[in-house]
Amino acid sequence: MISGEEERMDAAGIPYMIRPGKGPEGSVLDLLGQLIGSGGADALLLPFRVPSGDSFAWIMFSDVSLLKDAVPFPATMPVQGGRALRSLTRKEKGKLRIIALMRPCEIRAGMELSKLGQVNTENLILASYDCPGAVKLEDYVADPVSCDSAHSEMRSRGEPSGNARSACSTCVDFSMVDADIHFGYFGIKDGGMLVLPGSPAGRALLEGLNLEEGRGLLPQWEAEISRLAERRAATREETFRETAERISGFDGMLATFSNCIGCHNCQSACPICYCRLCYFDSEVSRTDPEALITAAEKRGGISIPPDRIMFHTGRLAHMSLSCVSCGQCSDACPVSIPVADVFSFVAERTQRAFDYKSGRSDGEALPLRRFLKNELDGVHEMVKDAESEASPNE
């Protein structure tokens, strides 16, 4: 959102700042407490550490005294925030006006779910923050203490490192997205923080708080975000290149997904997969035993149960246009398949084909619901490009 900064300010108002002192985490909690206190919202939705200490859970609450135990910037993302928003507003707008603090990718998932009729944003105030990335769930469960300190290091440097998830190292949407309020702290010295309104609703809430004007901090924050974005974009390029090679052709897909155990965890953890019953778990998608026998006769033998690749390619066909590359699928995979690398790579291309970017404001129409005369112009060229990308030696 850096390039559109002036436009954004016109629409949403001037940025505020919070002086160093409590550090970004303390400042965010403080401000959220003030918002509840001022009557701007009825409740908060924030991550809390679970009793066992090795994970986090979304808690919705209105008792401000609980705030001190919240973890605004958790090291991991066990449940994607988009799913939490969906649980609250699945049928109609929520009765309570809730402020939810989430990673940018969680808010982007919420935007996609809103377009898909699964989240109603009318009574939600969405707040995002500069996200350094999340630590792999597997690593965190094994050693929460050292992962916490690694994540704290990531926050101060603004960069994923070591045990960060691949999806985070390749993420370029880690800062301001289409949220109502954004907390920017990357690159701001001594633990100060910017509070940026992102919508008229966000502006209205912040205007009531008597905050200090923060335009002066914008340049250092913007410079740091661009610097970090460039670095992550380079990692993204590199990962995409490797992925393109790895999944090229049917054999490539087969090799990538050959140890898939068919648990469908990737689909359960995915914030975009919103179906009550996944098509690939339903009776209609199951291959008729007769057809299996026919196929076995014809080919000499088949893998049982069938359709392992079909599940993943089918899921790509169903959700890649809305995929926000949050990486939940990889975190959920018990056999360490780099699912998110493949899905991000494909999603980037399918979205490009329709000139669409997932996660932007919920006013934008989903590509498969609108019909434009020339929308598939150039797809042929894209396919050719992808082919030559996949086999650079030719």
């Binding site: 179906c275 019953l277 339903s282 209609v284 291959t287 008729d288 989903l366």
Partner: protein
């Protein structure tokens, strides 16, 4: 019960028999044991679609007690309904039959007999596999609704309504403004001689208001349209109090009229409200007012310029009626202001054959100065122009009358969207076919008339209105039954997540959202079974009867065995 599938292969004279080894297929299928307990009867026949062929099939179904029927023949577009009819005359449900196209797909397109035969046989195997998974469906004919909705109460809309009402059809006219009559009434000042368009319009208004078969809704728009020929449900929205009225009709005529281009929008016509620049409608109003034609300053104009073709370059079409209107305007101005000098700047003369020629001669006789130009522009009431010879000049006048193009009325695009009909590249309603079906549209049951389909005069608007009314009278016959599609879509509530994909892709408006349950619901009376929704549903909650996944997958699997 053990299934007994009858497979009948049509020779289609030499069409199929010459390129497909039918006896080979019969032998192959008879030996084939891939269908388990199912008994197959495989036979051939010369022309299955002939009377004797159909009787043969009926006897076979009855005498052999067939439970399913597969026909290997031509395209379903040719004879699907023929064989459905055969089933209908027996006890076999028509949805337990399947036609397989081995003519267009095999014998006509493959030269090699062996290959054509192999393909035909695999298609037939697929057909057998599919038909075994088909289910009985039952048709439920409903009465057609013979009533008609007319959108727009101008001369075209009123003419259509009167023609229909004369044949005892109930018609509803929806009119956005507060009166019937449309633009024709504004032309009273320009009407002359025995044919007066405004008089005709006024007469129509009287007839419509007194007609017991016609209901008129003034100050009203259309807010939603669902359904198809014989069965539309329309929601009307009152502009006055926002109240909605639901009406049903069997057909719709859109006659939403046109608007007049504003020449000051083009770069070459520069004038303001203070200048004496008018269009023919404004002149018409002056002519029929007490004060007659006068300048803003109060005096009579001594000389008037008539500038044709305002907007022709910008809009890139000729409205076709303006030349006649301008000539009439010239004559009436001459008559109304004794001694006035009139100059017409024209590019081409476009007038209809009979009246046009007389009009042209009258204009010459009346002493109107006709100047042929390549282009003309205005600066106030000064006309600058380039003659055909290339000479550029400018002349000042007391008054200028422009001939602006007719453009679509502002509602046209919205109405087109509601009715699901396209616009042509000038923004008017597009006909189904300009020559062969100029009153129909791409949506069955929706017709167009008048200037909503392009610029035209009062007489032509009325002609097209009569044509639309006539088409409806022959298509929508009182007492005839309509068989709604039975192979419709359904949504399994337990699986639906209410994402709304299907709602967006349904072209018939047959799906609605049940907000309280958070699911989408199909209105089976409106669904035509096109399958768009089926393709858009990621969760398998949608099913299109007669085209289920199981049926399609098994057909493909077996064909590719």
């Amino acid at each position: 019960m053990r299934a007994k599938v009858g497979v009948y292969i049509c020779e289609c004279g030499p069409n199929i028999a010459e390129k497909v080894d039918i006896d080979g297929i019969i032998a192959g299928l008879s030996e084939f044991d891939g269908f388990g307990e199912t008994e197959l009867v495989v036979k051939k026949y010369g022309f299955l679609c002939s009377k004797s062929g159909r009787e043969f099939l009926e006897e076979e179904i009855r005498n052999l007690g067939l439970t399913h029927l597969v026909i290997g023949a031509c395209s379903p577009r040719d004879h699907d309904s023929t064989f459905k009819g055969v089933c209908g005359r027996t006890d076999l449900n028509p949805y337990l039959y399947r036609i397989i196209n081995i003519r267009e797909h095999c014998s006509w397109v493959i030269d090699d007999v062996e290959k054509a035969t192999e393909k035909a046989e695999s298609y037939l195997r697929g057909g057998i596999a599919r038909v075994l998974r088909q289910s009985e469906l039952f048709e439920n004919p409903i009465d057609v609704n013979p009533d008609v909705l007319v959108i727009g109460g101008g001369v075209a809309g009123m003419q259509a309504a009167l023609s229909l009402a004369a044949e005892d059809r109930r018609v509803s006219i929806v009119e956005r403004s507060d009166r019937l009559g449309g633009r024709a009434l504004e032309l009273s000042g320009l009407s002359s001689g025995t044919f007066r368009g405004s008089d005709i319009a006024a007469g129509q208004v009287e007839s419509v208001m007194g007609n017991p078969y016609i209901d008129v809704f003034l100050n009203t728009g259309v807010s939603s349209v669902i359904g198809f020929l014989g069965n539309f449900v329309i929601e009307l929205l009152s502009d006055e109090d926002g109240a909605t009225t639901e009406i049903s009709s069997g057909a719709i005529i859109a006659a939403t009229g046109c608007a007049v281009y504003d020449p000051s929008l083009s770069g070459s016509y520069n004038y303001s409200d203070r200048d004496d620049v008018y269009n023919p409608l404004e002149i018409s109003r002056m002519l029929s007012s007490e004060g007659g034609v006068a300048l803003r300053s109060g005096g009579r104009p001594e000389n008037i310029a008539l500038v044709h073709c305002a907007g022709r370059d910008e809009l890139n079409y000729c409205s076709g009626i303006c030349c006649g209107v301008m000539m009439k305007t010239a004559l009436l101005l001459k008559e109304s202001i004794p001694g006035v000098d009139i100059t017409e700047f024209y590019r081409d003369i476009c007038v209809p054959p009979h009246e046009g020629r007389q009009l042209y001669e009258s204009v010459l006789e009346a002493g109107v100065d006709l100047v042929r130009v390549e282009s003309a522009g205005l600066s106030g009431t000064t006309v600058s122009f380039r003659e055909k010879s290339g000479v550029e000049d400018q002349r000042s006048f007391d008054m200028v009358v422009t001939a602006p193009a007719l453009i679509p009325s502002p509602d046209t695009a919205d109405i087109a969207l509601l009715l699901g009909i396209p616009l042509d590249d000038t923004g008017f309603f597009q006909e189904a076919h300009r020559m062969t079906d100029p009153s129909g549209t791409t949506t069955d049951g929706v017709f167009i008339a008048g200037t909503s389909q392009g610029p035209r005069g009062i007489l032509d608007s009325m002609r097209f209105a009569r044509a639309s009314a006539g088409l409806i009278l022959t298509r929508l016959i009182i007492g005839e039954k309509l068989v709604p599609e039975v192979a419709v879509s359904e949504i399994l509530e337990a699986y639906c997540t209410g994402c709304g994909n299907c709602l967006e892709v349904c072209v018939y408006g047959a799906i609605y959202s049940d907000g309280s349950k958070g699911v989408s619901v199909v209105n089976e009376a409106i669904c035509r079974g096109c399958g768009n929704c089926f393709g858009s549903c990621p969760s398998g909650a949608l099913r299109t009867k007669h085209f289920t996944n199981t049926q399609l997958y098994r057909e493909v699997d077996e064909a590719l065995r």
